[in-house]
Symmetry: D2
């Protein structure tokens, strides 16, 4: 099986998620990159836009071409929200599997999706079929999926950090707080004043306290885990750095007698990409920079009944392209870690 | 009164708090710098260590000299914890006023102080006399104080962010969460591996979740405000930047009918160094960089009964040296903003 | 004279040069801000765009209005290249003095200007009249000027660094190398992919090696100093930080017997904003952050006949807005340092 | 051959060079890590100090043990200067090959070495035998070497950038300028005030203009290339970022008729770790972050007879650990790129 080859296409490869997919795929032992598309940059060689890829690929961006994409085994969408849903039905019909790194298929409640994303859904019938691509929750479903909705970056860090607690029925699932911090690459590679280095460097702020699109996604996943409605306050912040998400998670009502460390270690013992650090640890985002790990620690503050979980990922890897490759590996029967043997870049 | 002059000494001026005091004092219209001491650097000109001060002062570091310090009107201590308490009694006896920027006089419960700071207190009788130097709480007491305990950086950001709520008796004061983030200058200027740029740059982490010295200080101040015991979970984090603290404060049990914006604006209407931003704002730390402001906003997340307060300061200014100058101005009957007319450095 | 008041207008205040001018002018003891214009943001309060100015000004951006601007004593242009030249003639006719922070009036050779800036000049006759606003070269001319061309940021750092040598006729003025490094704020506040923090953070590169607009400006000024044609290789680089320029200047043919330190100290002895550091020093950009100083050191490498001059400024202050205020002070007979009493923000 | 296994020891693995060696070696297909030593941290698990290695190795630091090290096929020294030379003779006698990442064996003139490094050499006779480990210069000698002196970071970037010119006898080799910029990781992981983030962040400066230890090393290598004495001015600068070196190289006397682009492309056509970018390019340090490439571009400024070469490496990879692994691969007959299939981490 490890000799099998997958013919892969990427739609929309000029953003940070796109270049990150390329970084992982050009050295993946089972992948042949067949096409990468970008309406605005057709004709440009990928390595001219992203010089880290010089020597690794000669591919050039092309126009999205139904025939070329239809001949792939798998197509990744690294497009703005709302694009994948217009192209996915035809690809699935052509027998192509799809992983959407945008949000088109993440929210099962289509009306809720429309409210948060501000558009009608083009193929609501596929939303039900799509598998939410968090392997630590849905590994078996992903293996047989035609269409995978790759999770958002914040939802990945938060859900993995809370999963053992919620599965075990511990804590008040209606009163969780997720205080999250992300590097600027999470905002993408579009030209904008707020993302200039002159605006984001050497400064820190919260944003979207009144409502962020990842909030309903996280609520949905926590509710799935709990088997009942869960709720949380989610406050994202912008870090003056490029890569990394740190979720600081507060759960109320956790009795002092519960062995949280043991619970977490047991739950993730077989998970190759989740690392539970020793009690008392403080995970650093740099320890997962460039790698597909989610690293976490469970702590108790000196008073009260709350537990604090610290969970870090590289938002572009486990929070996007790396998780997509992990899903691809599952969908095609490859070793789950194929092409993901990357040690975090520290310092 | 604005023509009066104060003869000022600084003990321990080689750290970031020290250079920041110097930055403010060299251009303060009423201050004559009489002495600055450093055992390790006696003889070195201040401007040779801190070249931003070239042209502003010819002062050199000297050995701590009881006679020189005793001839000052005011002595600032910018020393490690435990130093001020050994020198303050003699200075007060000599009629010198003192502002301690370290923690020696912040905690009223001397036993609690000893537990967190790991030493016996040298002059417990002065702890009771010392005034906690947060002007927005204790302005009148500061005016007549001989000895001011300048607040910690985190306690300043947190206490100011919660003060209007707690004074008004709103919210559950036993279940507050303070998720705080600080730039690296808060850790001081001592040589250490964890504070190298190679260790802290482009990374983010929590620290001291199990217990930080500012936690009992914040608990004390919130309890004073409440008139009854208050409690909180306090999680500090280290930001990959130099200056700035951002406190994200979560308070439970705040009814939807309360006009928080009005409450905050009214409470701080006369405070020159506290700025309540319009509803929906997200204060940035850079907006107060180098300045003495505390800037804040009050928000409600889309579900639940919790309020989120966002509060930012420059940890070296309102969180240390600037607040110390503000206290000095009060103690000597000067305009409270004298020498603090500094606009935040943005970008 | 220090009681006189100047009515000031700013055209184009939404960029980094604009907000920096505002930072300096709102606390300038002699300035009344009468108007600030921005076609795209008319109606927006300045402090809503730049929250560091909250509490310092209630001004809102307005449309450029000939009547309002014509009633000012002085108008600053902080606009893109090519804007000032269309409005300046009418303002001068109305008796308004003008300082242009863009490049419209910097290059005396109008054909050369057109070649580098890609447009025809709208008022070539005023180019001859305009005074190049480097006070250390042209103080007297600035005092009586109606129209000042505020120097570029790189030209300021390079020209000040070489001025004593060239005035003294030392070194080969046809073979200078200026290896310069700038923080990202020098590129302005326009939305663009290359200036995103995701693109410029944690990375370093040269740019425009084949030709940069500041090259002819520097050549012109060095030639003026030399009284004969001078030439240089100028290579700008982009630093992963916000503020600061560092010019590393290499001059050939400097005999070992020349007392460079004495030469530099003597030349700048009376200059309040130029600081010659002791022999062997390495100026840091942070030592001038937020301040109007140019700080420099002169060194000799261990072999050869070349001298290395290290010259630093804050590109937004001495390299733009601060120098403009310095020029304003000269033009209106105020103390040259009025409103510029700002200590560099270190750390 | 690709199935052969090498038993590797590392002496001094607690610095940045050490952790970087570990990052590369834990996933190298032919390496068995046998031992890593640190006097100060014996007993500490490597992954407890460097959490990015959690899951990759269970090794703990040990005391340097002659028997353990003597049983290795290869020992890397990632120690301070002066340590390797005291241990290397015994290891070579035991049949162990050695790669020293410090400077003990780089300078062939032992007296010159002693002058710059301030100590007597412990085994001058081995200095002559040691091969300077720059594969692009010395590939064949490295293959058969017992002892390799791994080049310094600056010397790697500078020598590779100039090699095609000097080999071809082009330019004035007595008047080269190397204006170099390095991230802070080049200064190592020792506790020191100047390397604190509070000191190096958001600032830029030159250092050691009067003389840096890499200057004689670069002079030596350029002279070897030229076959006659070469000289240069070398000015290093400190960048506010972690990884990356950018060398801006100025060579005089290069006639306009020479096809530099063709010269460089031809010289490096077969070099897998040197990438000559298209004419007009500006290499970014981030394009090689974490990877073993040296990426360069050759440019001509708009006037004069000088050429500007821009050369970037990751100082910890091609400038240290990666080059060491490349040398190891050569010494043991492995594919030169084994374990070095790492794409630069961009963004």
């Amino acid at each position: 099986m490890t000799d099998s080859r997958i013919k892969v296409g990427i739609v929309g490869g000029t953003g940070y998620t796109g270049v990150e997919l390329l970084r992982l795929l050009v050295r993946h032992p089972n992948v042949d990159l067949a096409a990468i598309t970008s309406r605005g940059n057709a004709g440009t060689r990928v390595a001219d836009m992203f010089p880290n890829l010089r020597g690794w690929t000669d591919l050039a961006f092309g126009e999205p071409d139904a025939e070329v994409l239809g001949a792939c085994d798998l197509v990744f969408f690294a497009t703005p929200n709302g694009t994948a849903m217009t192209m996915v039905p035809a690809l699935l019909d052509a027998g192509v599997k799809v992983i959407d790194l945008a949000a088109d298929f993440r929210i099962k409640d289509v009306a809720l999706w429309s409210k948060w994303y501000g558009m009608e859904h083009a193929c609501p019938e596929l939303v039900a079929e799509a598998v939410y691509g968090l392997p630590e929750m849905n590994r078996e479903a992903i293996r047989s999926a035609r269409l995978v909705a790759n999770p958002g970056c914040y939802p990945t860090a938060v859900t993995l950090g809370l999963l053992p607690l919620i599965e075990a029925g511990i804590g008040d699932i209606g009163r969780i707080i997720a205080d999250c911090k992300s590097g600027v690459s999470g905002a993408g590679r579009g030209a904008s004043v707020p993302m200039l280095m002159g605006e984001t460097g050497e400064s820190f702020k919260a944003y979207a306290v009144a409502g962020h699109r990842h909030w309903p996604e996280i609520r949905q996943q926590l509710s799935v885990l709990a088997g009942q409605p869960a709720d949380l306050v989610f406050v994202p912040h912008l870090l003056p750095m490029i890569r990394g998400i740190h979720a600081t998670l507060y759960v109320e009502g956790v009795g002092a007698d519960i062995d949280l460390q043991g619970l977490y270690e047991a739950r993730y013992a077989e998970e190759g990409f989740v690392d539970v650090m020793p009690a008392g640890s403080h995970p650093e985002t740099r320890s997962v920079r460039g790698g597909n790990q989610c690293r976490m620690a469970v702590q108790r503050p000196p008073s009260g009944d709350r537990v604090v979980v610290l969970s870090v990922i590289d938002n572009l890897v486990k929070g996007a392209a790396g998780q997509a490759v992990q899903n691809m590996n599952l969908m095609f029967g490859l070793p789950e870690a194929a092409g993901l043997d990357i040690v975090g870049l520290l310092p």
